[in-house]
């Protein structure tokens, strides 16, 4: 029999709070993290709002690495990793490092490093390009820096499947543990605020001017954000042996590809629906077993409509509660589905689900119970985490209440 895999630690750095408790309280309260962008000058842009992490102090989290030797995405990832291990009650130095690994996801890696290079190119200052570019930019460094900071020496993997990357990383860590290739994995995602990403979404007209309103008839788009979340995953047997608190069990996952368009979803949400169906089948579950769906829910007109169609294809007439925390923390890119994975793990423990904030007018094209504006207390036996990305990458991961 394959080992069961559980979540025993949650760490996050988000625009609405750092650490599991602060983040969860903010999300349940419907608090938003939007404000004028400070990372770079937006005066030439048609939009100016973002979801940045304010007051982040890497010194408080980094012990082995110096903050100056790694990029901001790595700093966010390391902070989330340290918080997750503390939440799990683990002293990493007491673990068998060779049996502990890392799987992380990202959209852009360390974009602020390549942006510094681009400033040199644009300013005709190539002579000022130094070793920092290649020493700190490659995206794989997020996973490597996290492993190096903690001292882990097992399998380390970086999966840059854009805005679904957190789910891909969690799914991969799940497989690594089930195959017995490691005993404990840190899995999640990280992205820092990126001028490149902001520019691109602004050019596509996808950024909302003030706030993010998933599933609302008048939704105007997404709001780019930044953050990181890391989960501690281990076998249930190991968790039980050390008397660990378990937040959730990972039941299964599904990964599919639209093979349709780089930036637009399949017109019927086909890949998204197949990912949900694959996750259900792999876990031996039916749609009625899922109590709550954490939506990708970016707040763009197209995403939300197609996602609603995909959810209806899978869940039929049943109005399963579906909410999007991007209404509060914006779209944190590669971190998004990792933060949402944390939300799903907390929901099945807490029997509460966060709302879709800023919801005012229903959209007949998004006929969902989107848990408008107020968190809801309800039995949450299983929570499905959906994420979609550029490239047509779709990922659904199912978390369920831990029953030994």
């Amino acid at each position: 029999m394959q080992p069961r895999i559980v979540v025993t630690g949650i760490g996050a750095v988000t625009p609405v709070g750092t650490g599991r408790e602060e983040m969860w309280a903010a999300l349940l309260a419907g608090r938003s993290g939007f404000s004028p962008v400070e990372s770079f000058d937006t005066s030439r842009y048609p939009v100016h709002v973002g979801a940045e992490v304010r007051g982040f102090e890497p010194d408080r989290h980094l012990r082995r690495l110096a903050p100056g030797e790694v990029g901001r995405a790595s700093q966010l990832a390391v902070a989330a990793g340290r918080l997750a291990l503390a939440d799990a009650g683990l002293d990493p130095d007491a673990l068998d490092a060779e049996r502990c690994g890392v799987a992380m996801g990202t959209t852009s890696g360390e974009p602020q490093i390549v942006e510094r290079f681009d400033d040199r190119v644009a300013g005709d200052e190539l002579d000022r390009v130094d070793g920092e570019f290649m020493d700190r930019y490659p995206s794989q460094l997020i996973a490597a820096n996290l492993a190096a900071e903690i001292g882990f020496a097992g399998p380390v993997t970086m999966i840059p499947t854009a805005c679904a990357a957190g789910n891909y990383a969690v799914a991969h860590a799940f497989d690594v543990l089930r195959a017995g290739r490691a005993d404990l994995m840190l899995a999640g995602g990280a992205d820092c605020f990126s001028r490149i990403t902001y520019t691109g979404f602004a050019r596509l007209g996808a950024i909302a001017p003030e706030r993010c309103q998933p599933f609302d008839r008048d939704r105007q788009g997404m709001i780019p954000g930044e953050g990181a979340a890391v989960l501690v995953l281990e076998t249930a047997e190991r968790a039980a042996a050390r008397g660990a608190r378990v937040w959730a069990e990972i039941a299964s996952y599904g990964l599919t590809c639209d093979a349709h368009h780089m930036t637009a979803a399949h017109p019927e949400g086909d890949g998204a629906a197949r990912a949900m169906e694959e996750a259900l089948a792999a876990g031996g579950l039916g749609p009625d077993d899922v109590s709550y769906v954490s939506a990708h829910g970016t707040g763009t007109p197209t995403n939300d409509r197609l996602e609603a169609a995909a959810v209806r294809r899978v869940f039929g007439e049943r109005r399963v509660p579906v909410s999007s925390i991007k209404s509060m923390i914006g779209h944190t890119m590669g971190a998004a589905s990792a933060i949402e994975a944390a939300v799903c793990a907390l929901a099945v423990t807490d029997d509460r689900v966060p709302p879709t904030a800023n919801f005012e007018r229903p959209d007949p094209d998004c006929d969902l119970d989107c848990v408008p504006n107020e968190a809801r207390e309800m039995p949450v036996e299983a929570a499905m985490n959906n994420a979609y990305a550029f490239g047509g990458n779709n990922a659904s991961v199912i978390f369920r209440k831990w029953r030994p």
Binding site: A97, L141, A148, P155, P160, I196, R203, L255, M262
Partner: protein, 415 residues
């Protein structure tokens, strides 16, 4: 692994050709693709040696008269390799449409050229003047996503970020999915392009040959090596379950029997720790394949001329193999192909499959004096005959990530 995974097709787009047979011949002749870079002006750079694919034309692989604008160079290289691999594996249009073929791609950058150009345009002309098509390709998973669109690959689509080790990691990821019954057929390998941005970055970081101002010598294991020559390309293998391959009567080139991973928490700052990561990855791969060091017929390392990396990798392999390290024939194809980053691991694998075919193992071209710090007896400049037996592939990445894969000729051991 619970079951060996069959390899039934190979697609290579390299500076030494786009057919495995011709590539193998060139490697066995010791032909080196490393020469002065022509794609961009290298003014002010200490060195400008690279291994470029000259005159790459996607239409040659993907058809004339089609719209290639949505794909950047890495997207085109990847889509071309996918076409070659699928065709080589006997996957015709109808077969591809029926099967939800997956794609697992190792790449270091996607395209840092596309990313940087997009950003620079916004800086110079203003954010309203960037092209949406370029933004779509600015994500690291763009080559995999674009190739999935081009070929209708609806199965799992995962990009693994990394340099020299990413390709092996992609093969392992794909093989595990097949062994676990989660996929039937997966294209796996890697790709990266040679571009001004990455070249300048590596040169300024002192990693390319010639960066120190000395005579450039990007020769793996050579006593006077001084860094790598940046290469480029795409290589994809068709992986499928042995049972599925038999059922459709596919030609089986070899099988992936096992793999192992380990990380050096010093991120290669401590050479002994880096070697130890390689050693652990090799031991894990051998155990996974159910083989002993003495069973191996040859090894192919990721060594690319890097001063510290080559020795760390060799030491790790030697430590894992024990006495077998004295005689095991060893190659390093990057002596001929340069350092193609994400494409490297799969290129090592493709070359090993060719060695399974005719028993010839390419020598390490340009090797004059083996570094006495390299404790592998089978490092040689000359192409040799080797036994048609299990091959060990290893890679040590820039960040300390170590991977090993064991390939075996034929279908490999069952269950």
């Amino acid at each position: 692994m619970s079951a060996a995974v069959a390899i039934t097709g190979v697609g290579v787009v390299t500076p030494l050709g786009d057919a495995l047979g011709a590539l193998h011949e060139a490697l066995c002749r010791g032909e080196r693709a490393v020469s002065p870079i022509e794609r961009f002006a290298a003014d002010g750079l200490a060195s400008a040696l690279g291994a470029e694919i000259a005159g790459f034309d996607p239409a040659r692989y993907l058809g004339e008269g089609r719209n290639y604008r949505p794909l950047d160079r890495n997207g085109r290289l990847t889509a071309a390799a996918a076409e070659l691999a699928l065709a080589d594996g006997g996957w015709d249009e109808a077969g591809r449409a029926r099967a939800a073929v997956g794609l697992v791609l190792g790449t270091m950058f996607g395209s840092v050229h596309t990313i940087s150009e997009f950003d620079v345009r916004a800086l110079k002309a203003g954010p309203n003047y960037v092209k949406p098509l370029d933004f779509a390709n600015s994500v690291i998973n763009a080559p995999a996503g674009q190739s999935a669109i081009w070929h209708g690959l609806r199965g799992v689509n995962t990009t693994i970020a990394g340099g020299p080790a990413a390709g092996l990691q992609a093969l392992a990821y794909a093989a595990d999915r097949i062994a676990a019954g989660r996929a039937e057929t997966v294209l796996a390998g890697g790709s990266d392009e040679l571009c001004f941005e990455s070249f300048l970055g590596f040169a300024r970081a002192g990693r390319t040959a010639g960066a120190s101002g000395r005579q450039a010598r990007p020769v793996p294991f050579d006593a006077r090596r001084d860094g790598f020559a940046l290469g480029e390309g795409a290589t994809l293998l068709v992986l499928e379950s042995a049972e599925g391959a038999r059922r459709r009567g596919a030609r089986i080139l070899g099988a992936l029997a096992g793999h192992g991973a380990a990380f050096d928490p010093s991120r290669r700052r401590d050479p002994a720790s880096a070697a130890r990561a390689v050693e652990r990855a090799v031991l894990a791969a051998l155990a996974d394949a159910g083989l002993a060091a003495a069973d191996l017929a040859f090894a192919s390392l990721s060594a690319d001329g890097s001063v510290d990396g080559d020795v760390a990798e060799a030491r790790g392999v030697a430590a894992a193999l024990g006495a077998a390290a004295y005689a095991l024939p060893v190659t390093a194809v990057k002596s001929m192909l340069g350092e193609p980053l994400g494409a490297g691991g799969a290129l090592q694998a493709a070359a090993a499959l060719a060695t399974f075919g005719d028993g010839r193992l390419p020598g390490i071209a340009g090797l004059e004096e083996t570094d006495p710090e390299v404790p592998l007896g089978g490092v040689a400049a000359a192409t040799r005959e080797v036994r048609r037996g299990p091959a060990l592939l290893t890679a040590l990445d820039f960040d300390g990530n170590a991977f090993a894969v064991v390939l075996v000729p034929g279908e490999g051991p069952k269950g």
